[in-house]
């Protein structure tokens, strides 16, 4: 289970919409309490591929986020990317390139921009399992930071 606030969700959505027609990507930072991931910060990262169908995170930005998280006693919980025109499920390529068994892989589909769909997955050795997401309405403890 992964928990985020409405503001975190808005931040992911805004980064994805701002990046159109390209795929957008970013990282989620927070804490893990009894197997529940609690998001505290959302980071929009640069898609180095600059493509509507692919993304590659900038490793320099990834390191910056990881170190920034550590300074606050937090960890990188997972990542998100957008699917501008396809459903919110990992593509074959998303699965092939998912190497971090601990990470949550969130996908935001903008196929219907009026009704964006956000889903989270765990991917281990190309086995995909959907992970429940809870979006809290409150915006306490909301913090954000973007590189772009």
């Amino acid at each position: 289970m992964i928990i985020l606030t409405k503001e975190h969700y808005r931040r992911i959505l805004a980064h994805a919409l701002d990046s159109l027609p390209l795929e957008a990507c970013g990282l989620l930072v927070g804490s893990i309490e009894e197997d529940v991931k609690i998001v505290k910060k959302v980071y929009g990262l640069t898609n180095m591929d600059q493509s509507p169908e692919h993304f590659t995170m900038d490793p320099r930005e990834q390191f910056d986020v990881m170190k920034d998280a550590r300074k606050s006693g937090l960890v990188v919980l997972g990542n998100f990317h957008s699917h501008p025109a396809t459903p919110a499920r990992p593509s074959a390529e998303d699965m092939r390139l998912a190497y971090d068994p601990e990470a949550s892989y969130l996908i935001l589909s903008l196929r219907d921009q009026e009704k964006p769909v956000l889903k989270s997955f765990r991917i281990r050795e190309r086995e995909v399992e959907e992970e429940p997401i809870t979006i809290l309405s409150g915006n306490d403890s909301f913090e954000e930071k973007a590189f772009s």
Partner: protein
């Protein structure tokens, strides 16, 4: 000797290479990790030849990307 791996102290019995360290850290796909040694990027081709020294700070993370099949 003591090194720091992703912020955590790790005690090593003897000098090992970056490649061996990734094995100790249970990285199954070392070809898909990016490594910084004391804030310098180390190319994957140098993992085997790079020896870890006492006090080194090693950061590694997984390649993060995806997309539709080419």
């Amino acid at each position: 000797m003591i090194v720091k791996v992703n912020g955590n102290e790790v005690v090593l019995e003897k000098a090992i290479s970056l490649k061996e360290l990734l094995v100790v850290q249970q990285v199954r796909t070392p070809e898909y990790v990016t490594v910084q040694l004391n804030n310098e990027f180390i190319s994957a081709g140098s993992f085997e030849d790079t020896l870890i020294k006492d006090g080194d700070e090693i950061e590694f993370l997984y390649f993060m990307g995806g997309g539709q099949a080419l």
